[in-house]
């Protein structure tokens, strides 16, 4: 790998991306986040990125009375909200060939923690997080 190739997003991104469809419910998303170690899910429609949901988006929409003695029917009905209603649609993305510096600046200046990596037509290629960038700076790309 030459130096230029090392400095692009493709060299550090994760291409094993967990995506969900817009129909997934809040309850299903809650279950997913309880099982995984990452904090973001990409929402896709026919393979194209349409939104991003974080574990905080899910937590924010859950009723605090859920699964408590005070739980009401309305608390449980919130679990039927769909990913389409919860997801952020103002998307900040990068491409496989975007530079790592560019991705880093987008993360810092937009105060976000991950960036979907998409093609020109919105097809999802992967995801890059601040941890990926930090690892790159500390351990190098080959790691």
């Amino acid at each position: 790998m030459n130096d230029d190739a090392k400095l692009i997003v493709a060299s550090i991104m994760s291409d094993d991306v967990h995506t969900v469809t817009t129909e997934r419910t809040l309850g299903e998303l809650k279950t997913i986040f309880e099982k995984v170690s990452y904090h973001h899910l990409l929402v896709e429609n026919e393979g194209k990125l349409v939104g991003v949901i974080s574990d905080r988006d899910v937590a924010r929409n859950l009723s605090p009375f859920l699964e408590t003695s005070s739980e009401r029917r309305s608390d449980r009905s919130l679990l039927d909200m769909t990913a389409a209603e919860l997801m952020a649609t103002q998307l900040i993305t990068v491409g496989r060939e975007s530079s790592i510096d560019f991705a880093s600046i987008l993360l810092l200046e937009n105060n976000i923690s991950c960036l979907p990596v998409v093609q020109e037509n919105g097809q999802i290629d992967g995801i890059v997080s601040w941890k990926d960038i930090l690892k790159c700076h500390v351990y190098g790309v080959e790691s």
Partner: protein, 561 residues
């Protein structure tokens, strides 16, 4: 407009009559070229407007003069108010000529304001204007001057006319090289009295002995200086001075003439742009069990055949006067086969190798090719036929264009610069696949580059917006005890992206130019084309597909309107 004491009016006109308005008369004074309006009391003068005043001036023959801006509107208002007095409204003016010389003295521009009742610009005034500004007559275009004189005579306005232009210097001729060997034209096949070409003697390579003059260098010439519009010299550039490429093996400079290149060894000369390489020559009768496979740094001439199962690989040209049977030839130059190539394979089974293989960095020619794999970076010339072969060449495939049947039958052929044959396909409708033009992936590559260019361009814009925000907010970042200039980092990222954008633009231009070079590529069957023939031509941005369904007397595919 001012009121002045009366003069004796030599020319007068009186306006209409109606109550409350003034009567008007115009006066032109020949001695100083002024035009006055005289307004007098009237009990029956009529109201007048600017247009009517212009009409009255025209009737008096005074409309040729220059009138102050707004003078007639003001005059009409004064008439309609019943004012009296004498008012200066216009003047006779001569034509004005103005010459402007550009700061670099490469261009002289002329403006002429036409005369209004006064003198036009005469040829003598024009001449004196040009000479007083030291304009060189050789810088004045004759056609422009003729048109200008006509315009001046007819008192027309002239705006920003380029009356004189600098004579550009002529750059010196660069050094050039002239081969002292017979060129390719002389080596091409010639017809005998009966119109027959013997391809066995297609290209009998010339050989040179040590000391043979190979190339002459003609040194760079000085240029011819130019001249600016006021006679100053414009220095010309001396032509580029090029030297012989003395790294080429087998040649050396003449000890008495540094512009003459001589052969230093016996061999085949290969003419290059600024030198001649002489390849040593290995001459063999046949390649067979007696010689074994040949691997030679230089040219190889085989007087007979290359027999089955043997190979010849060399850095120079290969000439075979006989047949190549189930054998392999790999050349760093051209391959010339006086006889033909005979191989074997089942072309419908991918991966099956042909028993005959030709590969050349230059041109390939043969009398016929049968069931062979042919790869060439130059042209491929076949006299009789190419049969059931796989041929990929970067140049043009010519069959029978210098005599012979010229048939392409069966197999798969791709020639980047096109195919011209007498006959494509055969009476048995054999499947014959022919491709020409650029690699279809080239267009895909171009699309990807455009896409990447757009994306990087957008990224640059995104970063610039961020940069503006950082600068507006103070532009520093506190990391522990260190204050960092954030904007500097973003600027570096922008510069890196812009550098990438520039590099993409260069790649795009190069591919677009390459695509354009395929505009004229065609596949031609000049005499007959049979069903079973399929043709694909990629003319850069245009792709043409053709499947022959009916026997045709001849056709050309690609480059159609």
């Amino acid at each position: 407009m001012s009121t002045i004491p009366p003069k004796d009016p030599p020319k007068t006109s009186t306006g209409g009559q109606q109550a409350s308005a003034s009567a008007i008369s115009f006066h032109f004074y020949e001695e100083d070229g002024t035009v006055f309006a005289e307004l007098s009391e009237s009990s029956s003068a009529s109201q007048l407007g600017k247009l009517q005043l212009e009409l009255l001036l025209s009737q008096d023959g005074l409309d040729q003069y220059q009138f102050d801006e707004g003078a007639l509107d003001t005059l009409a208002a004064q008439i309609n108010k019943g004012e009296i007095g004498r008012f200066h409204i216009g003047n006779r003016t001569d034509a004005e000529i103005k010459l402007d010389i550009s700061s670099d003295k490469l261009l002289a521009t002329l403006d002429v304001i036409p005369a209004q009742g006064g003198k036009i610009v005469s040829p003598s005034l024009l001449e004196s204007t040009l000479s007083s500004n030291r304009i060189m007559s050789r810088c004045v275009d004759r056609t422009t001057l003729t048109t200008l004189l006509k315009d001046l005579k007819e008192n027309r306005a002239v705006k920003q006319l380029h009356i004189a232009k600098a004579v550009a210097p002529k750059g010196g001729e660069p050094a050039r090289f002239e081969s002292l060997l017979n060129d390719d034209k002389d080596l091409r096949p010639k017809e005998d009295e009966s119109g027959v070409v013997d391809l066995k003697n297609l290209r009998d390579y010339i050989t040179v002995e040590p000391g043979t003059p190979l190339m002459r260098r003609f040194p760079a010439q000085e240029g011819k200086p130019g001249v600016n519009v006021v006679g100053g010299a414009i220095v010309s550039e001396v032509g580029a001075n090029l030297d012989f490429d003395l790294k080429l093996e087998g040649s050396e400079l003449d000890g008495n003439d540094s512009n003459l290149l001589l052969a230093s060894i016996k061999g085949i000369p290969v003419v290059m742009p600024n030198g001649v390489r002489v390849d040593p020559v290995l001459t063999i009768k046949d390649v067979d069990h007696a010689t074994g496979n040949i691997n030679f740094d230089g040219a190889v001439i085989i007087g007979g055949n290359v027999t089955s199962g043997f190979s010849v690989e060399c850095s120079g040209h290969i000439q075979v006067k006989g047949l190549v049977e189930h054998a392999s030839l790999i050349s760093g130059g051209n391959i010339d086969i006086g006889g033909g190539v005979v191989g074997e394979n089942d072309i419908d089974q991918p991966g099956v190798e042909f028993s005959a293989h030709l590969k050349a960095a230059g041109d390939i020619s043969a009398k016929f090719i049968n069931s062979a794999f042919v790869e060439g970076q130059g042209n491929l010339t076949v006299k009789e036929y190419a049969l059931n072969s796989r041929m990929n060449i970067l140049g043009q495939l010519q069959l029978g264009q210098q005599g012979g049947k010229g048939r392409l039958l069966g197999g798969q052929t791709h020639a980047e610069r096109g195919v011209v044959a007498n006959i494509l396909g055969g009476e048995a409708y054999v499947k014959t696949e022919i491709g020409a033009g650029c690699d279809p992936q080239l267009q895909d590559t171009l699309d990807k580059l455009h896409s990447s260019h757009t994306r990087r361009d957008n990224e640059s814009k995104q970063l610039k917006e961020i940069l503006n925000g950082i600068v507006a907010a103070g532009g520093t970042e506190q990391v522990g005890k260190i204050v960092l200039a954030k904007s500097q980092k973003v600027e570096e990222a922008v510069a890196a992206i812009e550098q990438k954008v520039a590099s993409l633009e260069a790649e795009i231009s190069a591919i677009e130019a390459r695509l354009a070079s395929f505009n004229e590529v065609t596949v031609q069957g000049t005499k007959r084309v049979y069903p079973g023939v399929s043709i694909q031509v990629n003319n850069g941005l245009k792709k043409t597909l053709y499947e022959c369904e009916n026997e045709s007397p001849g056709l050309t595919i690609g480059n159609e309107e």
